[in-house]
């Protein structure tokens, strides 16, 4: 399914939220609720360094572009790549405003350190899929820079990852169309969620209101 209306595109960065917690994603992206905490502020600060849309560096065979807006009609998403590195390579494609052929490598900046789960990798994969669609090319490798270890790790962007991103986005699109905020399993991870005071995770395992009211009034 292709999404023609750009206004309906989901935010690419939401994949992270969705992967962390479907409800957190729905609260932010469907219900438009947001609560800042120190993590979100730290994240914004870090991105300020990468967020310089008007600089374009050329270093030998490498062209570095920052804060590049990307989208995919196929997936119905839009977002911004922190950094895209174009490296001159005859197996690549021609790009606007540069001579020769290039292969694109998305680079994502994250606070913290590499995670066991592929939460950051999925976001990077989605960025790669946008680049593939916009440049008509293959994007097979990307990088994630982790602020805590101060260096980047290489990420192979496999077909398997791309399929996974596709199916996650299908589920997100379905919830979005229905305006549905799912209930989810809660856990210790709720403690690290900046939306816990809006979400009220404890409600998920509560008695029904019906039995609360009827219990009280028959006391």
């Amino acid at each position: 399914m292709a999404y023609s209306d750009d206004d309906d595109a989901l935010m690419l960065s939401g994949i992270q939220h969705f992967h962390f917690c479907k409800r957190q994603w729905a609260l932010i992206h469907i219900e438009q609720q947001w609560a800042e905490d120190f993590r979100t502020i730290e994240g914004q600060h870090l991105h300020r360094n990468a967020d310089q849309p008007f600089t374009r560096e050329k270093r030998g065979d490498k062209l570095v572009v920052r804060a590049m807006p990307v989208k995919s009609r196929q997936l119905g998403i839009t977002g911004i790549c922190d950094v895209v590195e174009f490296i001159r390579d005859n197996s690549g494609v021609e790009i606007n405003g540069a001579e020769g052929k290039y292969v694109a490598y998305p680079v994502e900046y994250k606070r913290g350190k590499p995670k066991l789960e592929d939460i950051d990798v999925l976001q990077l994969t989605a960025q790669a899929m946008c680049l593939e669609e916009m440049l008509l090319c293959d994007v097979r490798t990307g990088y994630i820079f982790y602020n805590e270890i101060k260096h980047r790790i290489e990420v192979p962007l496999t077909d398997e990852l791309k399929l996974k991103v596709g199916s996650i986005l299908e589920e997100m699109q379905d919830y979005y169309r229905r305006g549905y905020t799912p209930k989810v399993r809660t856990g210790a991870f709720c403690e690290s969620c900046s939306l816990q005071h809006i979400c009220l995770p404890k409600l998920m395992n509560k008695q029904t209101v019906k039995s609360y009211v009827e219990g009280k009034i028959r006391e």
Partner: protein, 343 residues
């Protein structure tokens, strides 16, 4: 639950509020009276015809600090509302439900259940705390009548009938209100609820505390993304915060009435705190109003265990908790709206 933040009350009529960085600065005839950091504030309530700079209004709207202007007597003048928080889906659901009488009634009846239940337990507590001062039999009888009404309300799906039950419950409760005044009887009596204007000392205090509560409730609703003007029990009327009044029903007794009774019974107010105007209207003196507000703020800091959430929160957050629960019900997380059932 989120943290309870402070409310800044401005009680002098000639103070101008301006913004300096992240602070509100209080000015009187160009002279600085003080400054308060805004990030500790939940709301600012200004009594009298004060002014505020557009910059301050913008800051408050942006940072979810509610800014309210009341007359010296506590009558509503204006509220600063910003770009409403984007919870469009929630609001549309609220509007759709408010158009449907039966569905509105199912929510409204839980507000009323909360109100009657809390009134019932105010009466019950009085018999427990002051068995030698009040006519226990009379109180018990009223309590049973209220219990019976709650069961009627539980099955009611018509707004008009709900209002009927609520009216009956109010008569039963109001009849005993005067008996709960145990001190300073010669200066504080309750016969009839009078408002606009209040005609006696007790009504003056009730009116004032309801105003404060209505403000807290409306702010709480707006902060969770609901439209405080569109109610389920109270129907639309221009300029009326109907949903705030709905939500307030269950909180009036436990948050306002009990507070007023305490002020009288603990002799924190006296007849010197009130002035009777030529037309019979009774108003509180500035000095009394200040003390009243301080006591109100202190009361908000006291902790309780929320009966449904099972979480310890301060009284001041109760309107917020109820607004949040209402929003979660409208978004289908909860099968019904859970009223605040306190005893």
């Amino acid at each position: 639950m989120k943290k309870l933040q402070n409310t800044l009350y401005i009680t002098q009529p000639d103070v101008y509020l301006s913004l300096d960085g992240d602070n509100v600065v209080l000015l009187k005839e160009q002279e600085k009276l003080g400054r308060v950091p805004l990030h500790n504030l939940e709301s600012i309530v200004a009594f009298g015809y004060t002014g505020a700079s557009p910059a301050l209004m913008g800051y408050c709207a942006d940072n979810n600090v509610s800014l309210l202007f009341l007359t010296m007597n506590g009558r509503f003048l204006a509220r600063v509302t910003g770009e409403s928080r984007g919870n469009v889906i929630l609001r549309k659901k609220q509007y759709a439900l408010s158009e449907d009488e039966t569905k509105s009634a199912r929510i409204a009846r839980n507000f009323i259940i909360g109100k009657i239940y809390n009134h019932k337990w105010i009466l019950e507590r009085t018999t427990r705390d002051y068995p030698l001062r009040v006519n226990v039999e009379q109180f018990k009888e009223a309590s049973q009548q209220l219990s019976a009404l709650i069961l009627e309300v539980r099955n009611c799906e018509q707004l008009d009938r709900l209002r009927g039950f609520e009216g009956q419950a109010a008569i039963t409760y109001n009849k005993l209100f005067d008996s709960m005044i145990l001190q300073q009887k010669e200066d504080f009596q309750f016969h009839l609820r009078s408002r606009r204007p209040p005609l006696d000392n007790v009504n003056a205090m009730l009116s004032f505390s309801y105003t404060l509560l209505a403000h807290d409730t409306a702010s709480a609703l707006e902060a969770v993304g609901l439209d405080s003007y569109v109610g389920f029990l109270h129907r639309d009327r221009p300029g009326r915060v109907s949903l705030a009044l709905d939500l307030m029903e269950e909180l009036r007794g436990v948050m306002a009435d009990k507070f007023v009774l305490t002020q009288i019974n603990k002799k924190l107010v006296s007849k010197e705190d009130f002035v009777k105007k030529e037309n019979g209207a009774v108003i509180m003196t500035d000095e009394a109003r200040k003390r009243f507000l301080t006591a109100w703020q202190n009361r908000k800091q006291e902790k309780i265990t929320h009966p449904y959430l099972g979480e310890k929160i301060s009284w001041g957050l109760v309107p917020h908790a109820q607004a949040l629960l209402l929003a979660r019900h409208l978004r289908n997380d909860l099968d019904e709206y859970p009223p605040f059932l306190w005893k």
